[in-house]
């Protein structure tokens, strides 16, 4: 934990985690999915 950082309430912390995971999941699906789709399409 960085020095002197104010902490968030549990409710906010859950919200941050939920939004970050959702966006991370979407970005990962886009990132890997797009390449996988193209390679699958290109190898047929």
């Amino acid at each position: 934990m960085a020095l002197g950082v104010p902490t968030l309430t549990d409710q906010r912390r859950r919200g941050v985690r939920r939004t970050a995971l959702l966006l991370g999941f979407i970005a990962a699906v886009f990132y890997v999915g797009f390449m996988a789709m193209m390679i699958w399409r290109g190898s047929r």
Partner: protein, 537 residues
């Protein structure tokens, strides 16, 4: 109460200012201001590296014939200049400004994901070191243009995989930075800071962040397919194996056009902050500005093929992309007229941020109008790949995005440092930049209309005069940019102390904090009264 007032350590009794010292402060940085500063410094360094490449390009084009460099090096200069400026200067500068300003503007203590923030930044120096290192490998740097079209790009030497890996790293950095921005805005706004009370800079960045998450993976996919074509025997873009090089252009521009708006939407946000402040009036049509930004972002996904009219496409396709492109003029016009209406009957004053915002308003509009000309299919057949296109996108990106970044720095620098900068020098910087950016780029319209192709190191003699004018403008513009870091350095060292509100007409939560602001911005959420005062759109 959104935040607990207690802290994780017992060191907060004197204002949370126990920051790490020395190199650890920067390498291990998790503070949004420190990371924002690093992004801005990085962007400044990239601006001067990319600018040096631009000077070399203008030097070679000063007169016809080959003067100083071989054609391959010239082509790698145009390629690297674009990559440096887009991914190294403009995008990191916006991310730096987002890091500095978004937590302060929404009433949050910091960015939502500080360690991810550190990681996002520290990817960049490695990515650009790798990219610049390509200049020293056998075969030289990438020379196929920043658009990396196959089959030319596939003929690259050792620089090819290095460039692709560097682009992957830049893309990952941008996606992680964008996630951080969205999470901060969606989850860490102070109670009472509703979406439609947010400052326009925050709104435009929120929409930009969604664009980044949507299109950076597309770029990653496109360059990975190039990589597999080169090294693993696939033929995505090789006609001999059943592939199609034009498919690359479709995929690339599906990323590339939203990318243009990634570069310019935060500029719209900054101008929407500056003009009301120096007009001493609320922004005209706040909600219309938000909806116009969202409309531009949506339209940016359905216009990509206007970059490739001449590859040959069905008439219906040409018409669709021509008309959808022209539609963008509507929300953009809403913005331009709203900024103008904000100034109407305002009590105007012309400090450096306002000067840069006004220059943006006029010159970005010139770039927008030449964009409309390029959207007309039969006209585009004539303009495609000429200097007219070069003039168009430089008007959008230099007096557009870069002037807005400079305006933003001049606007918020007193807040960051607590000192007022030398405004006379700032005005000198403005006038020299505005005059010479036009000397540099306006003649390129004439060259393009007369038929001078882009990306060539030599040209027919009839193009000599305007190329000389353009090069002189370029050298003077380049030299005048040294004023910018000097003004910032002088301001950081000292200057007239300012209070919380650096500018008389400024509104917004950032102006309620001390100047310079504390290490953690809003350890206690701002009151409703403060939010109401700030949200006087």
């Amino acid at each position: 109460m959104a935040y607990d007032s207690h802290v994780a350590t017992d060191l907060d009794h004197d204002g949370h200012d126990h920051k790490p010292q020395g190199w650890r402060r920067w390498v291990y940085a998790t503070n949004h201001k420190d990371i924002g500063t690093m992004y801005l410094v990085f962007a400044g360094i990239s601006f001067f590296i990319g600018g040096t490449m631009a000077m070399l390009i203008r030097l070679e084009l000063f007169k016809p014939g080959m003067q100083f460099m071989d054609p391959l090096f010239f082509n790698s200069m145009t390629t690297m200049h674009a990559l440096e400026m887009i991914f190294g200067a403009v995008m990191p500068a916006w991310t730096g400004l987002a890091n500095w300003m978004i937590p302060m503007q929404v009433g949050a203590p910091d960015m939502a994901l500080p360690r991810l923030n550190n990681f996002s930044f520290w990817i960049l120096p490695f990515a650009f070191t790798l990219l610049l290192a390509t200049l020293f490998v056998p075969g030289g740097g990438p020379a196929g243009g920043w658009t990396m079209y196959p089959p030319l790009m596939l003929q690259g030497g050792a620089s090819f995989p290095m460039t692709i890996f560097a682009i992957h790293m830049m893309g990952i950095s941008s996606i992680l930075g964008a996630i951080n921005v969205v999470v901060t805005i969606m989850n860490l706004r102070a109670p009472g800071m509703t979406l439609l009370r947010m400052p326009l800079f925050v709104w435009t960045w929120l929409i930009t962040a969604y664009l980044l998450i949507a299109v950076m993976p597309v770029l990653a996919g496109a360059v990975t397919m190039l990589l597999t074509d080169h090294f693993f025997g696939t033929t995505f873009f090789t006609a001999a194996g059943g592939g199609d090089p034009v498919m690359f252009q479709h995929i690339f521009w599906f990323f590339g056009h939203p990318e243009v708006y990634i570069l310019i939407l935060p500029a719209f946000g900054v101008v929407s902050e500056i003009i009301p402040t120096f007009s001493r009036k609320p922004l005209f049509g706040y909600e219309a500005m938000v909806y116009a930004t969202a409309s531009i972002a949506f339209l940016s996904f359905i216009v990509w093929a206007h970059h490739m009219f001449t590859v040959g496409m069905p008439l219906a396709g040409q018409l669709f992309f021509m008309l959808s492109t022209m539609l963008i003029a509507i929300p953009t016009g809403v913005k331009v007229f709203n900024w103008t209406a904000t100034m109407y009957k305002g009590s105007l004053s012309f400090e450096p941020p306002m000067l840069f915002a006004l220059s943006f308003l006029f010159l970005f509009t010139i770039g927008g109008l030449s964009g409309l000309m390029l959207a007309i299919v039969p006209a585009d057949y004539q303009y495609q790949d000429t200097y007219f296109v070069v003039a168009h996108f430089h008007y959008v990106l230099v007096p557009g995005a870069i002037f807005a970044i400079m305006g933003a720095v001049y606007y918020w620098l007193p807040k960051w440092t607590g000192n007022m900068y030398d405004q006379t020098l700032g005005k000198w910087h403005f006038w020299l930049s505005t005059i010479f950016v036009n000397v540099l780029f306006f003649p390129q319209h004439f060259l393009g209309l007369a038929g001078m192709p882009r990306r060539i190191p030599d040209y027919a003699v009839q193009f000599t005069d305007w190329n000389m004018v353009s090069s002189i403008g370029g050298f003077c513009f380049g030299l005048s940019q040294f004023l910018f870091p000097y003004i910032i350095w002088k301001c950081v060292r000292g200057g007239e102390r300012i209070g919380n509100r650096a500018w008389e007409g400024a509104h917004g939560l950032e102006w309620e904090l001390p100047s310079p602001p504390p290490f953690h911005s809003w350890t206690e959420p701002p009151s409703d009264a403060l939010i109401n005062r700030g949200a006087a759109h």
